[in-house]
Amino acid sequence: MVYRVGNMKKLLLLSFICFSLLPLSAYAEGYSPSDTGYIYTNTVIPLATSKENNDVKNTIPVSKKMKSGESKSINVFGLVEWGDASVNKAVANGQLTKISHVDSKIERLFVPMGILPVYFKILRTTVYGE
């Protein structure tokens, strides 16, 4: 009996460690290497700038009021991920015809509660242009 209880404890500890490592796994990490807040992340990182700026005649001036489009994907418990966070979708959502630059926004929450951890992540791609 004592042996079994000890076994159970070991199992619980092991599962706790496994689930604690969940957000570090490649599956939960996604493509973004900056998604590093173990418990809470709310950050924006740069992705790319477009050559559209190059065209002197048709330069898109960067400003606060410039047009933007957004697309997002959602990950729940590191097990299921759905949505379309592509540039293509963001451009369609914002009805843009020219792209100036692209930012990526990551929101993530992880609460390591034993064998029932809470994990939630939203990845947003914002495309700025006109």
Binding site: P33, T36, T41, T43, V44, P46, T49, V62, H101, Y128
Partner: protein, 106 residues
């Protein structure tokens, strides 16, 4: 106890590994600047470029917050035309990490 310490050390190592974004990864100390993107705009005056900055902060690898986007950096200094974007990263083991996006332009 020995096993536990080994596991703890392994976890700490993994945590530290994930806290770096740059290609150059210093496990204990990182202070580097690397390119993100360039638009291909011809630079008229290299010495008098405008420089906009935005940054995000990571504490203990546990919490990360802040806006290090291109949009925030560009708008902060009123940059209308972007030349190129650099990223500055400063990290001290797992305790502290700061990402600064630097947008150069006019």
């Amino acid at each position: 106890m020995k096993k536990f310490l080994i596991i703890a050390a392994f976890m700490g190592f993994l945590l530290a590994q994930t806290t770096q974004m740059a290609q150059a990864r210093g496990l204990f100390y990182t202070n580097t600047e690397y390119p993100v993107s360039a638009t291909g705009v011809s630079v008229k005056d290299l010495k008098n470029m405008k420089k906009g900055e935005s940054s995000s902060l990571n504490i203990l690898g546990v919490v990360e917050y802040g806006d290090a986007g291109i949009q925030t950096a560009a708008v902060s200094k009123g940059i209308k035309k972007i030349y190129f974007v650099d990223m500055h990263e400063k990290a001290i083991f797992i305790f502290y990490r700061k990402l600064t996006t630097k947008v150069y332009g006019e």
